[in-house]
């Protein structure tokens, strides 16, 4: 079976280890994973800034790039939301591409959902007891709906002690270009988020969305917090002994 990873531009740029962790877990589940080289970004920046023309072109490129795969795995809630929900909407007036977009959207899976719903039995090589907390991205809460899957995956491993966040359904203030357009508001939002994270006393924060992770890790680092930050795939692949995001390698 041909299964592809849509790595997402942020993992590609900032966190390759998350991409490798995803592949490790998928291979462990018995899949052979392809990473099509022609992939770039899902087009959210254009879509969310009103540039529909560019968003459509990028969507068409992505649809072409992934057309021969049975599954496309996306290790980020917001990019998954883009491919699954927004791509078809982009082509309301273009039946041919609407079909293609819908067809792709049916083959796309957000990573934790795929791991949970499709891969079924899979065990995670986590050696020591770790206390963690988990940030649900807004897309994972409201677009892909992967909150429960994430919980089930984490709770399936006895070594993971999950401490839930207060205000867990509030946005971290990343919001793509929002965080640079309105940095003061974004700062206050991430501050609130980070305060809740620190209040859990957990050693590690995970999330399935790299945008949120960059934002939160960046703020934690600025505040000199010892909390380590990982993509959830890295946690499940047993790789939290490595450097967390923003930590020295």
């Amino acid at each position: 079976m041909r299964i592809a990873l849509f790595a997402t531009c942020l993992i590609d740029t900032f966190r390759p280890s998350a991409g490798f962790a995803v592949i490790k877990l998928l291979e462990q589940a018995g899949y052979q994973v392809d990473v099509p080289e022609l992939q770039t970004c899902c087009g959210q920046p254009a879509y969310n800034n009103g540039d529909l023309k560019s968003a459509r072109k990028i969507a068409q490129q992505t649809i072409e790039t992934f057309k021969q795969y049975e599954y496309v795995i996306i290790p980020s809630g917001s990019c998954a939301g883009m491919l699954i929900h927004h791509y078809p909407n982009l082509f309301e007036d273009n039946p041919e591409w609407k079909n293609k977009a819908t067809d792709l959207s049916r083959r796309c899976y957000e990573f934790t959902i795929f791991l949970h719903d499709v891969c079924k039995k899979i065990s995670f090589p986590i050696k020591n007891k770790i206390s963690i907390t988990c940030h649900d991205s807004c897309s994972s809460l409201r677009e892909t709906g992967s909150k429960q899957q994430t919980r089930n995956l984490i709770n399936s491993n006895k070594n993971l002690n999950l401490i839930e966040l207060n205000d867990s359904d509030t946005c971290c203030g990343f919001g793509g270009t929002f965080c640079v357009k309105y940095p003061e508001i974004s700062e206050q939002m991430v501050n609130d988020k980070v305060a809740n994270i620190m209040a859990t006393g957990a050693e590690i924060l995970v999330s399935a969305d790299l945008g949120c992770l960059l934002n939160i890790a960046g703020r934690l680092k600025r505040l000199k917090s010892p909390i380590k930050v990982f993509h959830i795939a890295e946690l499940l692949a047993g790789e939290t002994d490595k450097a967390g995001m923003g930590n020295e390698i």
Binding site: V35, T40, N49, Q61, G176, F178, K181, M189, R222, I249
Partner: protein, 479 residues
């Protein structure tokens, strides 16, 4: 009120620095969110009601012409009169004229967001009427000469101390001089001061949460009882509302009422829900002698068949404000006009112009919580995006951000170029952050680095690293 949405950024920064406001926002947020949650947890039918409400409102909008005519006819039948205003100026003029015809000197007002929209108080005061807001929150901000900062809790940004100070300053003339130390004392003094106003008023103006076509009723939903005193004591009762508030039947209204109070304050129903049907009857012992309904359009008819149609379902419950992380961070005044938060960021550009309020649709992370809680299933994030599309089309947003977007799209659409650029970028950033694992300062990136480090990349991009790995695998196979 003149819109100050243009200054959104400045307003927001000021709001963030205002510690009294920040405390008030925190307090309000927790209260609203928890109360709504408790109310909804006790209502397993919420989703059913929500889709019921959606259907009712869509059916109404599809037949809005007929229902408005039916409403008008029924108001006439019960002895009242309906007046139509295309825009805010007309609404002002109609109401000023009605008050003049009634020979009014003093006017009491119940809370009305449409009243705020048309800047009714300013118009009435300019025409020489003494105009008193009687909802406690509205009264407070009237004394403070401020616009409301929330559509259901207009003075939510004020602290108890600030209110006590305002009363001290403004109630001297009524011989109230004592220092107000507690909330009951403040409420009591307002009750006493406003009681006289209710009795003296010649005209009472209320808003309406719903207009019922079947019966010609106008409905208000309140907790204080001020709306009913405003409507029942003066000789003339004027209702100001807008055309999209029409609902076909009493039964339909009951469905919407079940959603409204729960979404707004977490109550199952407010203390007072009142249906007004015209002036007093011959045998009635009290009530107004004349009854007028002024219905405002102000761009709503243009929304009916366009991209913002969904917004016409709004029942002004305020849940989207209460759950908006941006609203909760900066409060309502930063948005610069009468409707704040997600619903305001959709409405303000439509009513005040997109150019004037260009920040509002962009000042959202599109987190979707507003849509999630909206009892009328209004796709607020999608509507905000719609404004962004328009802003892009009209080239309203800044050239700098347009240029950046263009450049980025150019790369994203040329995968090989994209790879190259990514690799250079990753190398550069990895080098900058190689000792600490993160970067705390970066040219052109102050907006990010002012409050966060940038976690540095890991030496090479994922795709390059993966390609190398694959190549090595192949080579070791060949060996």
């Amino acid at each position: 009120m003149k819109s100050k949405s243009r200054n959104f950024k400045k307003n927001a920064v000021a709001a963030l620095a205002n510690s009294t406001l920040q405390k008030a926002l925190q307090n309000a947020k927790d209260g609203f969110i928890n109360k709504r949650k408790i109310a909804l947890d006790a209502l397993p039918e919420f989703e059913q009601l929500r889709s019921n409400a959606y259907k009712i409102k869509e059916h109404t909008l599809k037949n809005i012409e007929a229902y408005l005519k039916q409403f008008e006819q029924q108001v006439k039948n019960s002895g009242g009169e309906v007046h139509w205003a295309s825009n805010t100026k007309e609404a002002q003029n109609i109401i000023v004229k009605l008050c003049q015809d009634a020979g009014a000197r003093s006017i009491t007002k119940g809370k009305s967001m449409v009243g705020e929209e048309v800047a009714l108080n300013e118009a009435l005061e300019k025409a020489g009427f003494e105009t008193i807001e009687t909802d406690l929150g509205e009264y407070i901000i009237q004394l403070a000469e401020e616009p409301p900062s929330h559509i259901i809790a207009p003075a939510v940004h004020k602290s108890q101390q600030q209110i006590a100070d305002l009363f001290k300053e403004h109630h001297k003339k009524y011989n109230f001089k004592s220092k107000l130390e507690t909330i009951p004392e403040i409420v009591d003094e307002a009750r006493k001061v406003l009681r006289d106003k209710f009795i003296q008023a010649d005209v009472g103006i209320t808003g309406a949460n719903f207009l019922i076509a079947e019966t010609g009723s106008t409905v208000i939903v309140t907790n204080e009882g001020n709306g009913d005193l405003t409507a029942s004591l003066p000789k003339t009762h004027i209702v100001i509302s807008s055309i999209e508030k029409v609902v076909p039947t009493l039964e339909d209204t009951s469905v919407l009422l079940r959603l409204l109070a729960r979404s707004a304050t977490g109550q199952e129903i407010t203390s007072y829900t009142t249906f007004f049907n015209g002036p007093k009857r011959n045998t009635d012992l009290d009530g107004p002698e004349s009854f007028h309904v002024v219905l405002l359009d102000n761009k709503r008819s243009e929304m009916l068949n366009g991209e913002f149609h969904d917004m016409l379902r709004c029942i002004h419950c305020g849940a989207c404000l209460n759950h908006c992380p941006v609203y909760n961070t900066i409060g309502g005044h930063a948005y610069g006009w009468v409707y704040p938060g997600p619903m305001g960021s959709v409405l303000t550009p439509l009513m005040q112009g997109l150019k004037e309020s260009q920040h509002l649709p962009f000042a959202s992370t599109l987190c979707g919580r507003c849509e999630e809680v909206c009892p009328m299933s209004i796709p607020l994030p999608q509507l905000l995006r719609q404004h962004r599309i328009q802003a892009h089309k009209e080239k309203i947003n800044s050239t700098r951000s347009r240029l950046a977007l263009k450049l980025w799209a150019l790369f994203a659409l040329h995968p090989l170029l994209y790879r190259l650029a990514t690799n250079i970028f990753v190398k550069l950033l990895s080098w900058l952050g190689k000792t600490t694992g993160s970067i705390s300062q970066l040219p052109f990136s102050h907006a990010w680095t002012r409050s966060r480090d940038l976690p540095s990349p890991q030496g090479q991009s994922f795709i390059s690293a993966w390609k190398k790995q694959q190549k090595n695998k192949r080579m070791s196979k060949h060996d």
